[in-house]
């Protein structure tokens, strides 16, 4: 499944980037009318220590007929700020890292790979190994935290308490490698600012094997507990066809494609990804020769459809006839290595030097799903536009769908099973 888009002008390429979705102004709701119709409004300030967003539960009697989600409260102009900071890469990467705090490492990786593709300067295998290690730790930390929160929401406190603490252990492992619990300020274009020393490797391997036992114990309790399973199973179902139709990505897509698409499926997918990430970490910590860094950016499913942006082509602005498309790389299902960086350069008469507008699209397999960063450069290498598509942007509709026909009381577990990023969507 390859999608190729050819644009005649930079304006069209821009319009396509716009169509990828993102910032939505909070706006008025369509009212629901009827005898048993009522609405429950929540937010933007929520009861927990979480990000702002406004939810409008439109109910018919006890059941939610429709959930309207209003975002945009977190909009602070990350993309424009990155474009405006052209020439100051330390500022640009710091801005990218603060697009969504829980996805800092994936975002920094995206930005770095765009610069590396642009400059033709690639990091060493050792640097890539550390980058991927951080990325997998980020994945585990977030999945562990979400599974704990899910247990907490169905009042199963042992796992909630254990996982809250264990998530912190993974953040501290990240801090061991680079000094920051969220992996900030470690990735830079062309490499890493810190080295993965043998001492750190040994310490991490020992630490992770110790914590892994606690984590397995905590998760086993939750997934063997009938009262937990009873609450999660069959709740918030997004069928496979619907998931495809509304274009879900990442964990949610996988839960619908491989399992039943309910809250339990999304929890199980996270547990599977925790196992996969640990296997990956073990091989990254192993012998250098036995490990090749490839999987960093492939969508976990090996399913091209779960990776939304495939190819964007910008051609010589204003002069369509003289430009010819040369390179289009699309993610290839199942082949991790081929789903890395997509560079599309339009050249004139096959002559690379005369190329005008270059669009570089990088997809990184972040913990929620494919995170896409795209940059539009002019012939002098000036950054014209920067675009970020968080996997959450595709999945909010899935959350709204999951709640249809459910009671409002099921919202917290549906929400936690997705755990979408407000700031990543709003940017």
């Amino acid at each position: 499944m390859t999608e190729t888009k050819i644009f005649e002008t930079a304006a069209e390429a821009n319009a396509f980037l716009d169509s990828l979705g993102g910032y939505v102004e909070p706006k008025a709701v369509t009212p629901l009318k009827g005898e048993s119709a009522h609405e429950v409004a929540v937010g933007p300030v929520h009861a927990g220590v979480i990000e702002p967003g406004h939810f409008r539960f439109q109910c018919m009697g006890e059941d939610v007929y429709n959930l309207q989600i209003f975002l945009g409260y977190q909009h602070r102009g990350v993309e424009d700020a990155i474009a405006a900071a052209d020439g100051n890469r330390s500022r640009q990467i710091a801005l990218a890292e603060t697009c969504a705090g829980d996805t800092s490492i994936a975002a920094a990786t995206c930005f770095a790979e765009i610069c590396e593709t642009r400059d033709g300067k690639h990091p060493t295998d050792e640097d890539l190994r550390l980058r991927e290690l951080l990325l997998e730790l980020e994945r585990v930390a977030n999945h562990v935290g979400d599974l704990g929160a899910l247990a907490g929401d169905v009042a199963f406190l042992p796992t909630a308490s254990f996982c809250g603490r264990i998530r912190g252990e993974y953040l501290n492992m990240t801090a061991l490698l680079c000094g920051n619990r969220f992996g900030r300020n470690a990735v830079v274009p062309g490499g890493m600012r810190v080295a993965l020393t043998d001492e750190k490797k040994a310490k991490l391997a020992e630490w992770i094997s110790r914590v892994r036992k606690d984590l397995d114990g905590a998760l086993r309790l939750m997934f063997e507990e009938p009262t937990v399973l009873e609450r999660l199973e069959g709740t918030g179902v997004v069928p496979k066809e619907t998931a495809e139709e509304i274009g879900l990505v990442g964990v949610a897509r996988r839960a619908s494609a491989e399992l039943q698409g309910d809250v339990l499926s999304r929890a199980l997918v996270r547990r599977m990804e925790i196992d996969e990430a640990h296997a990956r970490i073990a091989s990254l910590l192993g012998d250098a020769a036995s490990c090749r860094v490839t999987a960093i950016t492939a969508p976990h499913t090996g399913d091209a459809a779960s990776c939304r942006v495939t190819a964007i082509t910008a051609t010589h602005p204003g002069d369509a006839a003289s430009s010819r498309v040369t390179t289009i790389t699309a993610p290839h299902p199942g082949d991790a290595a081929s789903c890395r960086v997509t560079t599309i350069t339009a050249t004139r008469h096959g002559d690379a030097a005369s190329c005008r507008v270059t669009t570089i699209v990088v997809t990184v397999n972040a913990w929620r799903g494919p995170l896409v960063h795209a940059a539009l450069f002019d012939p002098d290498g000036k950054l014209l536009r920067y675009k970020i598509v968080d996997p959450s942007a595709h999945n909010w509709q899935g959350l709204a769908y999951a709640l249809r026909g459910e009671q409002i009381s099921n919202f917290p577990i549906c929400n936690k099973s997705f755990n979408l990023s407000y700031c990543g969507t709003d940017r």
């Binding site: 702002p52 909009h75 705090g101 800092s104 254990f162 680079c178 619990r181």
Partner: protein, 244 residues
């Protein structure tokens, strides 16, 4: 039930010894910066050229200044300029904005002590209402962490509460985006008197990498960092109420 008990016994008691014991910080932790008194104008310029934040590092007749209220503690300036160092000092919380500015030649830092009787009266119970206002959620996540059993902030009587009506202080994170301005103002207004405002993270203090909206009041506690380490936050809250 039995399985849960066995697992609890197997995992053991996991709440950290901090405080009063020193927190377990990572080896590459970057805390309060230090600037040598002989830093030159060229040194400052070189450091500024790699600084991601506008206005974090400056220089005037008194020497060089690093504003921890803007700094994201990336350490890039220290990488290019040997006159700037990031120490392991994690006690970064202060009660006045100007105390966040580190000047060249300052050594032997001692964090400020609380003297305000209104804050001291909250020593055994401090209820916070968190408002996330346009940030990246890292500050929120590391504030949440304090509620887990690893830090167990509740043992000091500090809690995040669900309503501003129950709060002694509003704890703001994020650069106060345009769309969150009204919600933040209303939340602060909804808290009963006497009330305090706490600004956590570079964004809430100064905007950090972004431009900040308006805070509804002058904060009485500033917790710098991007995001602040949980040890920094917990120590600052305890010192704010005079518990440390």
């Amino acid at each position: 039930m039995l399985k849960a008990l066995f697992e609890r016994l197997r995992q053991g008691f996991k709440t950290g010894a901090f405080p009063p014991a020193a927190p377990n910080l990572p080896p590459d932790f970057r805390g309060r910066p230090e600037i040598d008194s002989d830093i030159t104008a060229e040194d400052v310029e070189r450091a500024q050229s790699v600084c991601p934040v506008v206005g974090a590092l400056s220089r005037d007749v008194e020497g060089a200044k690093l504003d921890m209220g803007r700094c994201i503690f990336c350490g890039r300036c220290a990488e290019v300029c040997g006159k700037i160092r990031f120490t392991k000092e994690y006690r970064l919380g202060v009660f006045r904005r100007e105390d966040l500015v580190v000047k060249s030649g300052e050594h032997g830092y001692e964090p400020p002590k609380q003297t305000d009787p209104a804050a001291l009266s909250l020593k055994r119970s401090l209820q916070l209402r968190e408002v996330s206002a346009g940030g990246c959620a890292a500050c929120e996540l590391d504030a949440n962490v304090l509620g887990t059993l690893a830090w167990d902030m509740g043992r000091f009587g500090i809690r995040f509460v669900a309503s501003p009506r129950h709060a002694d202080a509003i704890y703001v994170t994020g650069p106060v985006s345009k769309n969150m301005q009204l919600a933040l103002d209303k939340t602060f207004a909804a808290a009963p008197e006497p009330k305090f405002l706490i600004a956590a993270g570079a964004c809430a203090i100064s905007g950090g990498l972004y431009e900040r909206g308006n805070l509804p009041a002058t904060p009485v506690l500033y917790i710098p960092g991007c995001p602040p380490h949980p040890a920094t936050t917990l120590e600052a809250l305890l010192r704010f109420t005079g518990s440390l």
